[in-house]
Structures are given as structure tokens and as C-alpha cells.
């Protein structure tokens, strides 16, 4: 550096010169970080290393669950992913049912699948919206949230709440489907099919989006397995794994569907998998509405405990199940259970140990985004800085779900 330049620098131009190699602190108050902090070490435009500082929305589900009754946990475990709450609820209840050894009537199983698929569509639309706005595509963001509203409306009619549904109980579900809801769903399917065409026009087939997503965040099949990717991200890398097929729960063994699998493993393939899963979900919803069996929606073991007067008023009147007093503080037998479902973002697992008291001895909740922490870290290494958000969005990583 010549003397002249030094002189100028001394005369009032002193700023800390940021080297080309530097650390960027993305978040927690950054438009593209979500509820976490991402330490990015940059070399020029290339990311050398990423450290995720998670835990900003940690709500300690696992500790709280050791101090709450089983029934109290239903609203708690769905909080981490409020937009995917049916799945959270279902996996937990499946684990509890395994310990309790309860059989669920077929109609309730179909209703669980119904709610889960509606929720999956809503969750995927949300994910694509966030993904879109991370790349600056504001229309995808608004459409994602707007179109999701249609499905949330159905969930609201079915369960009584928009997001935190608390719909599934041990032994069954809380409310029955009505012809009105079926009609709503049919219309929503027609609407979403039309809209998906426009989605393809403006978002999926948009050359701009293609350029941003193709060959970005490429995860080979081996890496996807090694790092522990789940759900649509795993399927976009060529692993045909879906809990709904591998280990059918609810009514999935009777439903006819395909799991979309792509070979490339990049951000675009992940988007395509999500789009196709929405289509498959709608197909499943149609089948559920056609084939749903008549019958009870709560296991007889609990159904018998409901007082007959209430049964008449609620079940025969409004097709709602009211809870028997048993639920308030039930004690399942000793044992442990491991249950998993395919949530919107991937495989969701609960590991529950019961010691015979009214509270779980240990509850382990493994959410899909939790398993994506490692994937995100590894994928971001070596990518361009602008692709950090693309990778983030394409993984559909949801910090509250990861923090639990």
C-alpha cells in the first residue's frame, strides 16, 4: 500500500476492512434465517463452513413430557410443527396405543389418513411458499399461503381449529366427517388441481426458478443416507422410502398411491417431489371419501365408557366424540413403544417408555427437521452464498420442528 493511500485512510476513512474471507452472522434477525442463527464462513462467494446455532425456539418437549399426563401431551407435541400437527399427533398417539394395546376402528383409521393428507398438502404448500420467497419469488410465497388456506379451512371444519388440531385421541379420533366437509374437499381438490397448473407456469417451470434450483444443493443417494435425510428430500435423492409404504399405518395399506422418487437430489428435484406428493395426496383424499367405511370412530373400549346421555347428544347429534373421564389421567401398562409416521417433511418417530404411572418415563421425539440439521450443514458447505437460502428452503427445514 502506498503512502498516499495510507494518508487517505488516516484522514477519516478508517473502517474495519472486511476481508474477502470472513464470517457472516445470518440470523436470528435476518429475513432469510428463520428462528436460528447460521454462522457462515465465506471464501469469496463460496461457503466454506456453516455452523447452525439452533435452539431459539426450543420448548423442551422431552423434559415437559416427563411431567405431564399422557393426554396433556397431545397439544404439547404438536406445537413444534403447528402446520403439520396432525402427523405429530398421530405418531404420538400410535406410540401410546401400542403401549395401551388398543385397536382402532377402521373408520377412525381412514379419518386419520384423511386429516393427515389434508395436512400434508397444507404443509407442502407452506414449504413451497417459504422456498419461493427465499429465492425472491414473492408470488409463490403468497400463493403458497393463500392456497394453503383452503386446506386449513377443511381442517377447521373437521377438527374445530385451524392448525393445532389435537384431533387424534388414543383409540380413535374426536370428530366424524360430514357430507359438508366432503363437498368442501371435492371443491378444494378441483381448485388445487387447477391452481397447480398455474403453479407450474409461474414457479416450477419458470426458467428463473429452474436456474436457481437445478444442480444446487446436490445430495447423492449415498450422502442422503449417510447424513440421515428424510422425507421428500430423501426421495428426491433416489431412495424410495416412505413410511406409508414401508410400514403402513392408519389406512395407508388400503390406499392406492405412488411415491414420487427423483434421481437428481438437487433443490429442483425436491420441489418436484413435493408438487407430485400434493397430487398423490389429492388422489388419496378422493379414494378415502369414496371408500370410507361406516362405523364408530372410537375404540369400543373407550366408547363404552361415555355416558349414554352425552353419547346421544354429541355422537348422534353432532358426530363428535366426547371423552370419557378415563382419559383425564390414564395409566398405561409398563412397556415401551416406537412409532413412526411419514410427516409432511419426512419420517417422524416417537419413542415412549412407560413405567406404569400416568406420566411417560421417557419420551423421545425425533422430528424430520431435527434430522435435517446435519444435512443442511453438509449441503451448505461448498455452495455459493446465494444458495444458502435455496438449500434451506428446498430442504423445507423448519426450525421450531427441529428444536422441539
Amino acid at each position: 500500500m502506498t503512502e498516499e493511500v495510507e494518508k487517505i485512510l488516516k484522514g477519516g476513512l478508517e473502517v474495519e476492512i472486511v476481508p474477502v474471507e470472513g464470517e457472516l452472522n445470518v440470523g436470528p434477525q435476518h429475513p432469510g434465517s428463520g428462528h436460528m442463527r447460521i454462522f457462515v464462513r465465506l471464501n469469496g462467494d463460496i461457503i466454506e463452513d456453516v455452523d447452525l446455532d439452533v435452539g431459539y425456539v426450543h420448548r423442551s418437549v422431552e423434559k415437559l413430557s416427563e411431567n405431564r399426563n399422557y393426554i396433556h401431551l397431545i397439544p404439547l407435541i404438536e406445537r413444534p410443527a403447528i402446520l403439520d400437527s396432525i402427523h405429530m399427533n398421530m405418531a404420538y398417539i400410535m406410540a401410546v396405543e401400542k403401549i395401551l394395546n388398543v385397536d382402532v376402528p377402521p373408520r377412525a383409521l381412514y379419518l386419520r389418513s384423511f386429516a393427515a393428507e389434508v395436512n400434508r398438502i397444507a404443509s407442502h404448500l407452506y414449504g413451497m411458499g417459504i422456498f419461493g420467497v427465499f429465492m425472491g419469488h414473492s408470488t409463490a410465497f403468497m400463493w403458497g399461503f393463500g392456497d394453503r388456506e383452503v386446506w386449513v379451512e377443511i381442517l377447521q371444519a373437521l377438527t374445530g381449529a385451524r392448525v393445532t388440531n389435537s384431533y387424534i385421541l388414543p383409540g380413535g379420533v374426536r370428530r366424524d366427517i360430514t357430507p359438508v366437509i366432503m363437498e368442501m374437499t371435492e371443491k378444494a381438490i378441483k381448485y388445487t388441481r387447477r391452481k397447480l397448473n398455474d403453479w407450474k407456469g409461474i414457479f416450477v417451470n419458470n426458467p428463473n426458478i429452474k436456474a436457481r434450483t437445478q444442480n444446487v444443493g446436490v445430495m447423492t443417494k449415498e450422502n442422503a443416507i449417510r447424513w440421515g435425510a428424510v422425507g421428500p428430500n430423501l426421495r428426491a435423492s433416489g431412495v424410495a422410502f416412505d413410511v406409508r409404504k414401508a410400514e403402513p399405518y392408519a389406512a395407508y395399506d388400503k390406499l392406492d398411491f405412488e411415491i414420487p422418487v427423483y434421481k437428481e437430489g438437487d433443490a429442483y428435484a425436491r420441489t418436484l417431489v413435493r408438487i407430485e406428493e400434493i397430487e398423490q395426496s389429492m388422489k388419496m383424499l378422493e379414494q378415502i371419501m369414496r371408500e370410507i367405511p361406516q362405523g364408530n370412530i372410537l375404540s369400543d373400549r373407550f366408547f363404552k365408557q361415555i355416558p349414554p346421555i352425552r353419547l346421544k347428544k354429541w355422537w348422534e347429534g353432532q358426530h363428535r366424540i366426547v371423552m370419557p373421564g378415563y382419559y383425564a389421567s390414564f395409566r398405561p401398562p409398563k412397556g415401551e413403544a416406537f412409532a413412526r409416521v411419514e410427516a409432511g417433511r419426512g419420517e417422524l418417530a416417537f419413542y415412549v417408555i412407560s413405567d406404569g404411572t400416568a406420566k411417560p418415563y421417557r419420551l423421545r421425539m425425533i422430528t424430520p427437521s431435527y434430522r435435517l440439521i446435519k444435512v443442511f450443514r453438509e449441503l451448505a458447505k461448498g455452495s455459493r452464498y446465494a444458495d444458502l437460502v435455496t438449500i434451506y428452503g428446498s430442504l423445507d427445514y423448519f426450525p421450531p420442528e427441529a428444536d422441539r
Partner: protein, 164 residues
């Protein structure tokens, strides 16, 4: 296992650009809006919506099931003239509706009200007397509020129809 086409010719690419712009123009000319013009329009919620909860004091038998099932410790039992009655803290309530479902005598009922405002936290705690009053409707802005009902539409997503 599927693959998407990798190399595309420039004409197809141009076509896709035009398709994207065309889709945008289509919605510019024929917008489909799903905004609810709140507060001029207010939504009537479907039956069974889990809004704020109302107590029927005379019906309550004080069995404490509601307090036992409450996942958020929002509902507590208070002794009033020798009778146990529930009181609720809306600062904690998560609107799961378990208390309504478990009440053996239907002393609790869900209302469709969910948009209420309070000036401080103490007001969020409803003692049995306040709990068993009809819940006030949200204040209107000196103008009549149109009550609408959301309906799913095949073309527009959600339309709001006036509720009679």
C-alpha cells in the same frame, strides 16, 4: 424413479419465460382474491369451532375433570360457597377443547368467539362468575360489521358469502 429433462432448447426456454409472464398477466387481469376484509367483514365460524369457552355455573357439578385434563394448566378449581367451580386463565389456554369434551354434564361450551382483546394480563383470568357470562362480541368500528361465511370455491379458492 424419475428424472427431469436436463438440457432444454432455447425456444422452449423462451416459451417457459412467456408462460410465466402469461400466468402473471392472467392473474393481473382476472385476480382471485381470498382476503377477508376484516374488520368490516367478520367470519362466522363453523359449528364445532373451538373458540373461547363458556361455563354454565348451575350445571357444573365440580368433578374437576376439566382441570385434570387441561394440558396447559389453564383451568383450575376454585371453591366458592362450598362448591368447586372451574376458573380459566386465557393467558394459558391453548383452545384444545379437551375440557369441553370431558365434562360429564356439558357445563362447558365452546363459543365461536376467538378475537377478543384485553388490556392486561389479570383480565385474562376468568373467575367462575365472569366465566359463566355470555362472551362479548368484539367491538365494531362504529360501522355495521358484515357477517360472512367462508366457502370453498372451485375457481376462486375461498369466497365469502354473507351469512343470513
Amino acid at each position: 424413479m424419475k428424472e427431469y429433462p436436463k438440457k432444454e432448447n432455447p425456444f422452449k426456454l423462451l416459451g417457459q419465460h412467456l408462460e410465466a409472464i402469461g400466468t402473471g398477466l392472467k392473474y393481473l387481469v382476472k385476480p382471485t382474491r381470498i382476503t377477508l376484509m376484516y374488520p368490516e367483514e367478520s367470519m362466522v365460524l363453523p359449528t364445532g369451532y373451538r373458540g373461547m369457552i363458556r361455563l354454565y355455573k348451575d350445571v357444573c357439578i365440580g368433578c374437576t375433570l376439566c382441570a385434570m385434563v387441561c394440558p396447559a394448566d389453564a383451568m383450575k378449581m376454585v371453591t366458592e360457597e362450598g362448591k368447586k367451580l372451574p376458573m380459566i386463565n386465557y393467558g394459558r389456554c391453548v383452545f384444545c377443547g379437551f375440557c369441553v369434551d370431558i365434562c360429564p354434564v356439558d357445563a362447558l361450551k365452546e363459543t365461536g368467539v376467538h378475537d377478543a382483546a384485553f388490556t392486561n394480563r389479570r383480565e385474562l383470568i376468568f373467575d367462575p362468575d365472569k366465566f359463566s357470562q355470555d362472551f362479548d362480541q368484539p367491538p365494531t368500528m362504529d360501522k355495521p360489521v358484515r357477517k360472512v361465511r367462508a366457502k370453498i370455491d372451485e375457481k376462486k379458492g375461498i369466497v365469502y358469502e354473507p351469512d343470513d
